[in-house]
Amino acid sequence: MAVRVQAEDFDVGAELNALTTGTRRIGGLAVFVGLVREMHVREGYHKDRVDALTLEHYPGMTEKALEDIEAEANKRWPLEATLIVHRYGRLEPGERIVLVAVGSPHREAAFEACEFLVDWLKTKAPFWKLEQTPKGDKWVGAHDADDKAAARWEK
């Protein structure tokens, strides 16, 4: 179990190797990598172009929130390994934002727990996205879809 919040990029291959080395009880490793997507680009009409994102977070609270979420996943599913790495700071389209990796003896548990972690960290970890556009900075609003995705795991 590990949680990291950092400005630097992460090496997905190295992270996954470290996670699975030394254990032979992982049958399935489910992984999610979130990337900055080039948004709202219309051919020749760049009104809504996003040049970059800046991720602000709440140092100290972020780590606690991610550890709580990770502990909850380990309580709900039989997991052998979990990892959450989340970046902050300025990120351009194509850059990695977040890595979530879950190893379990069984693939169903790995997939479910990975989706759970991604859904919950979007709504329960203190990050805020500021979009840089040609018209100026714009704070990203919360998505109803993300709230719904997170709510399906409430019990």
Binding site: Y58, M61, W128
Partner: protein, 83 residues
């Protein structure tokens, strides 16, 4: 007690954090919100709609009925948009 603001609330209030000493009758997060609104026009604007933001007491998410007694840090922020 330190009060911190994040994302657009920080820009609207005008400061990232501030030291405050609320009177004894300010007991909960909700009481603190009411009390802070009077500090400036920026505070009043940022804290106007209680449904538009959340809070944390000592770095744990807290609802507005949570006590701030003994807390060293209270934070206010808009809904999270990470991931």
């Amino acid at each position: 007690m330190k009060v911190r603001y994040f994302a657009w609330m920080k820009r609207t209030v005008g400061v990232a954090d501030e030291e405050v000493s609320p009177p004894a009758e300010v007991r909960t997060v909700g009481d603190l919100v009411n009390w802070l609104r009077d500090r400036s026009a920026g505070h009043a604007e940022a804290l106007a709609e209680s449904a538009a933001f959340g809070a944390a007491v000592d770095k744990r998410t807290a609802t507005f009925d949570v006590s701030i007694a003994g807390a060293s840090e209270v934070a206010f922020f808009p809904p999270f948009t990470g991931g």
